[in-house]
């Protein structure tokens, strides 16, 4: 079993996810951005989309499917950018 299939890898993933959420909370408090409950799922869904896109592109490259990786990257970049801007504007809403 390789590192990326091991439980240890997922333990580190979880650790980083917790750190990212704490970092986001601290950052929003520093910036004076209010974070009501509905903003959290919005941010988490966007981050998940980004993670899945990166995983999709990486997997496609790994499988030698360069066309799939290329189109995946193009679509993901556009959708992530547009939704990222929308999420950012929602975050800044008071």
């Amino acid at each position: 079993m390789g590192f990326f299939e091991s439980s240890f890898f997922w333990f580190i993933e979880g650790l980083f996810a917790c750190l990212a959420i704490i970092a986001l909370r601290t950052w929003t408090q520093d910036k004076g951005i209010r974070m009501p409950f509905w903003k959290w799922p919005v941010v988490i869904v966007w981050v998940l989309f980004l993670a899945i896109s990166i995983a999709y592109i990486g997997t496609s490259i790994g499988e030698g499917e360069m066309d799939a990786a290329f189109f995946g990257a193009i679509f993901a970049a556009v959708i992530a950018s547009i939704s990222g801007v929308v999420v950012w504007r929602l975050l800044r809403m008071r």
Partner: protein
């Protein structure tokens, strides 16, 4: 200050004249373009024939031997029909029973990415064995191809005309009547007229809730002209007009309406509502800039650079179309790629860049690269020169 403005105007007028002369030269040069020899295509259309006798009606009789005692192997007709970017020409071979032996594409000027869909689906080889009395109707006796309907319709029409001409002219059959209305005027044309009327009204600020109306027209245009009909205006339409590939108006009311809404207002009044109020790709950029919440314009120096680039690229594309008599020889527009998800890889990269930039800069495609905008600017410049 006034002297500097006059100098700029004089320079623009001189440039407009130079461009006009160059386009006329390009058009004349295109007249001398070498046309490919069709002998090879005749042989492919009717492989059983050794030699071909031609006649005035452009129907070739295929003969089985080189000598005078040879028998007729069949007939070949070379016919064209108007596709998206000009004529699609095919050589169709028929045997003595009126069955298609083979159909070969002689020439086409369609966009390669779109036409590849037609050939990848086995056309024109799939016409083999069809009877000359068939209707050649897309979605009927000819399977449709998603994303290349116009190109396939042109191909099928050219084959149908060739079959019909051989059947009536050589096989002594009755003319084949196609079950098609004399003038094609349906929902797409009605929708386009509605959009044009409301777009004009919103542009002329004649509607009560003008801003809201503009958004309604833009959204409707994005949905109908963009995603449903997938036929926004493109430089290819303008090039077809200049090259002289004018399709029959009876079957192409939509095509003429679209060109009229772009060019006529510029010629008559010096401005067009198409770009700001009707263009579906413009609507996409407007929606994105609204989402981005910014309305930033490019810096002056940058804007000047892109204006020169936009006009130079458009000039090169038009010149090449005129010289090579191919409206789609150079195309870099991303609107078709956006609405059809068909295109070259670099077009997808450019499209992604434009969409992302649209979140932060007002209409980057329209202001920096759109060749249709460059053409309308040029017509405006010419008009100004003439009216003066």
């Amino acid at each position: 200050m006034a002297a500097a403005k006059d100098a700029i105007k004089n320079r623009e007028r001189l440039l407009a004249s130079v461009i006009l002369v160059s386009l006329i030269c390009g058009w004349v040069a295109g007249l001398f373009k070498h046309h490919s020899d069709i002998a090879g295509f005749l042989k492919q259309a009717l492989p059983g024939a050794v030699r071909f006798d031609s006649s005035e009606d452009n129907i070739y009789t295929g003969l089985t031997h080189a000598q005078s005692e040879s028998k007729k192997a069949g007939f070949v007709a070379v016919r064209s029909a108007h596709g998206y970017a000009g004529p699609v020409t095919v050589a169709v071979g028929l045997d003595a029973n009126g069955k298609i032996v083979n159909a070969v594409i002689v020439r086409h000027t369609e966009l390669p990415a779109f036409f590849r869909r037609v050939t990848d689906n086995g056309f024109p080889g799939r016409f083999k064995g069809k009877d000359c009395s068939d209707q050649f109707e897309i979605g009927g006796d000819v399977d449709s191809v998603t994303g290349a309907t116009v190109s396939l319709a042109a191909l099928a029409e050219a084959v149908r005309v060739a079959c019909s001409d051989i059947a009536t002219g050589r096989l002594g059959l009755l003319p084949i009547v196609k079950n098609k209305p004399a003038i094609q005027f349906g929902l797409p044309e009605i929708l386009l007229i509605l959009l044009i009327v409301t777009g004009f009204a919103a542009y002329g600020k004649k509607l009560p809730a003008n801003t809201y109306m503009k958004w309604v027209v833009l959204a409707a245009s994005l949905v109908f002209i963009g995603f449903v009909l997938k036929r926004p205006i493109s430089l290819i339409n303008i090039n077809s007009l200049l090259v002289g590939y004018w399709p029959r108006w009876q079957n192409n009311v939509y095509w003429y309406l679209l060109l009229a809404v772009l060019l006529l207002p510029v010629i008559l009044r010096g401005k067009t509502p198409y770009c700001s109020n009707i263009c579906p790709f413009g609507a996409t950029q407007e929606i994105l800039i609204k989402l981005g919440g910014s309305r930033r314009q490019l810096p002056e120096k940058c804007s000047q650079f892109f204006k020169v680039l936009q006009r130079s690229l458009a000039w090169i594309a038009v010149m090449c179309a005129l010289v090579f008599r191919n409206p789609a020889i150079i195309t870099y527009e991303v609107s078709a790629t956006f609405f059809t998800i068909i295109g070259q890889n670099w077009q997808f990269v450019l499209l992604a860049l434009v969409l992302i930039l649209s979140l932060f800069i007002a209409r980057p495609w329209c202001n920096c690269l759109c060749p249709v905008r460059a053409v309308s600017d040029y017509v405006r410049l010419l008009r100004r020169g003439f009216t003066r």
